[in-house]
């Protein structure tokens, strides 16, 4: 009896593939709400899901076609990410957003083969900017190399145009993600004459005693950080412990959210990070989210992340995806789009100030246009500073442009090497 029941359960489980529902747009979510990186994964996932729920509840979907969301837990683990991708690839996914540079590298060749577009917003492989090689991968509105260059441009500005003789440390997560900015910073150091010292922190990054001892010994002028998850808060705490001047400690956009600075309390005051979009609840869209999502009891997760930095980022990612789907519907004149049409929508996406204001997000992100030659948007970013007394992130600069000329040069080198390695003839699809 027991055995037959077990066998029955197994047999039911065997038919894993969910039936594809007609007339819906499938937006899969590769989330991580568990594991050491969950503090970053949860708000992003909530924001992404809430925005899509809002579109369904308020507008009845995109162009009248409702959005179907599926969730798969990756725990920021590449193996589970690949397993998740395998489980959704037969189910007409329109856009993949893994929120993990490691998983992105696994999925780039697979999505090319399966003809499913992937959007890695502000992470992933920087050289995917070259859309002639990476037809199916997009990383607008900015990349890691843009981020590194923006920070250096900001520092140049602060130092009257010269970084000669300065000492800059990069504290990075020892993974594909953290190593990504090293080539840019190295090349810029040759050009601008600062001394560049990369210091690695092994994942997950709870133990950084050695690294900060080294930083104390080196006495750098600036410390840049490419961290994620628990590594961020530990680093901010360590910096506070050695009384490092927080104004000279600048993180990438993944190292600049509330949970990274809260644990250090007043010690984190003045810590800076890049910002690729605005944050806080002062945008009209939050009224709609309150009315259509929260008040109807449809908020994702605990519903306590609304308005945080990473929630805003998840919402921004969903907004760009929905806009791309809309663009695709306009181009092809069909409401029920396929993943290939979705790619066309992404490749011709244009985000203007007016459009963002219409959506209830005035001035939230940079205005940019995606073209076949440039999948990376404008690359502009702002700098934000943590105010530990009011517990808010304040933007201290306007949009800062990266050194796109040098970055494109590096993008071409890396992407053409990839093309040669994988036998791709560079070219546009449309």
């Amino acid at each position: 009896m027991k055995m037959t029941r077990l066998a029955a359960v197994l047999a039911v489980t065997m038919t894993a593939a969910a039936p594809a529902l007609a007339d819906t747009l499938h937006f899969p979510m590769l989330n991580y709400r568990t594991g050491p990186f969950a503090p970053g994964g949860i708000p992003f996932a909530d924001g992404y899901q809430d925005y899509l729920t809002l579109i369904n509840e308020r507008d009845g979907g995109i162009g009248g076609v409702p959005i179907r969301m599926t969730e798969c837990e990756t725990a920021y683990n590449t193996e589970r990410g690949v397993e998740c991708y395998q489980s959704i690839r037969g189910d007409n996914p329109l856009i993949i957003q893994p929120l993990s540079t490691g998983i992105t590298y696994q999925l780039i060749p697979r999505t090319m083969e399966d003809r499913v577009p992937m959007h890695t917003m502000g992470y992933g492989r920087t050289s995917a900017v070259n859309g002639e090689v990476f037809n199916w991968t997009f990383n607008y509105p900015g990349t890691y190399w843009d981020g590194a260059s923006v920070i250096i441009n900001y520092l140049l500005d602060e130092n009257d145009g010269s970084l000669d003789g300065k000492k800059i440390v990069l504290l990075y997560h020892n993974s594909a993600y953290g190593r990504e900015p090293i080539p840019t910073l190295t090349r810029l150091s040759e050009r601008l004459g600062y001394q560049f010292i990369p210091i690695a922190v092994d994942s997950p990054g709870q133990e950084q005693g050695n690294q900060w001892l080294q930083i104390r010994r080196e006495r750098p002028d600036y410390v840049l950080m490419w961290g994620w998850g628990v590594m961020n808060s530990v680093a901010v705490q360590e910096a506070a412990n050695i009384r490092f001047n927080m104004n000279n400690f600048i993180g990438v956009w993944w190292s600049g959210s509330e949970q990274d600075v809260m644990p250090a309390g007043a010690g984190a005051h003045g810590y800076r990070s890049l910002a690729m979009h605005g944050t806080g609840r002062d945008y009209p869209i939050y009224d709609d989210i309150q009315q259509y999502v929260v008040d109807r009891g449809r908020a994702a997760g605990q519903g306590d992340q609304i308005g945080t930095v990473l929630y805003s980022r998840g919402m921004y990612a969903a907004m760009l995806a929905v806009e791309a789907a809309r663009t695709a519907q306009e181009i092809h004149g069909v409401a029920n789009i396929t993943s290939e049409m979705m790619r066309d929508g992404m490749a011709n996406l244009s985000i203007t100030e007016e459009r963002m204001a219409e959506l209830g997000l005035p001035g939230f992100g940079p205005a940019f246009e995606v073209t076949c030659q440039n999948h990376g948007g404008s690359g502009a970013a702002m700098i934000q500073e943590w105010d530990a007394n009011n517990r808010t992130w304040n933007l201290i600069t306007d949009w800062i442009m990266p050194d796109r000329e040098m970055i494109m040069e590096m993008v071409m080198e890396d992407s053409l090497a990839f093309a040669a390695e994988s036998n791709i003839t560079p070219g546009c699809l449309n």
């Binding site: 359960v9 489980t13 969730e71 798969c72 395998q86 060749p109 594909a176 990504e180």
Partner: protein, 358 residues
Amino acid sequence: MIYREAGDFKTSYGADNQTFPIKGDRFAYYLVLAFAFLVMPFIINDYWANAIVVPFLIYAIAALGLNILLGYCGQLSLGTGAFMACGAYACYKLMVAFPGLNIVFVIVLAGLVTAGVGVLFGLPSLRIKGFYLAVATLAAQFFLIWLFTRTPWFYNYSPTGMISAPTRTVLGYPVTGPQASAVSIYLLCLVFVVALAWLARNMTRGTLGRKWMAIRDMDIAAEIIGVNPLMAKLSAFAVSSFFVGIAGALFFAAYLGAAEAGEAFGIDKSFLVLFMVIVGGLGSVLGSFLGAAFLIVGPVLLKLLLVNQLGWSSDLAAHLEIMIIGAMIIIFLIMEPHGLAALWRTIKEKLRLWPFPH
């Protein structure tokens, strides 16, 4: 009833010493092989092949390798993840350096390279034993991963330190890279699993395996009766690392497609394979397969059941999955400390006598 042994007489030493002396077992074995080679390729879908069966086969090879070292020779190793990384990076370097070389040879060569590295790190086993050896192999784990992440030559100076497998074919069918179909990857892994399991089974039954077991049971006594501990221990390290290296090469080239040493081959991999061997059963080929199935297929099935069938939220399911698998490991180890293979042995004994147990 299931095993009908009446009339199953052995008339030669060869027949008496064969791997599966019971007729029922032998048929079951041939049946499984025929099913795996002739039926599975036609019925398996992409998700099942890529997400469940292929990782199961690859981890089974790794568990077999560690079982040779730990279960047969009694040398505790925590460096399995690093040796898998060694196989993966050797495979990558060979694939890139010799594009014309058939991938099957590349994987075997990667195994041989790993065997060499394994012997090197096995040298301390001649002086230190037990937990102290575990610490020494732990050093191998950290040193090798450090080497692969800090030396750009190993990842061909790619800016992110990732290695990715180019497309290679066997008989015209791509088996690595994004163009490879699930079935061809499955068949590649299956061929390696069958060949290596056959090798492991026969090695452990022969002189070499007996030497290993003598060392495991009492090394001083073994030395007195003429077993050379140097040769026995180092050969166990070499064979074990060969298996683990092949598992690592397949894991990188066929399954993941792209890998990064710290993330894909960390210390948690070493423990995962160690748990497979312990849960499956020390010193048993079948145990390696059962342990791999339990720890690889179990969580995925649980996820499919909780998320896809019952519709629970994926984070709740992920947390429950950790708890359930942990509880099951403890329950199994209390019920049967010698692993799933011993459980099967008991069941088999009962089945042979059934329905007249006395």
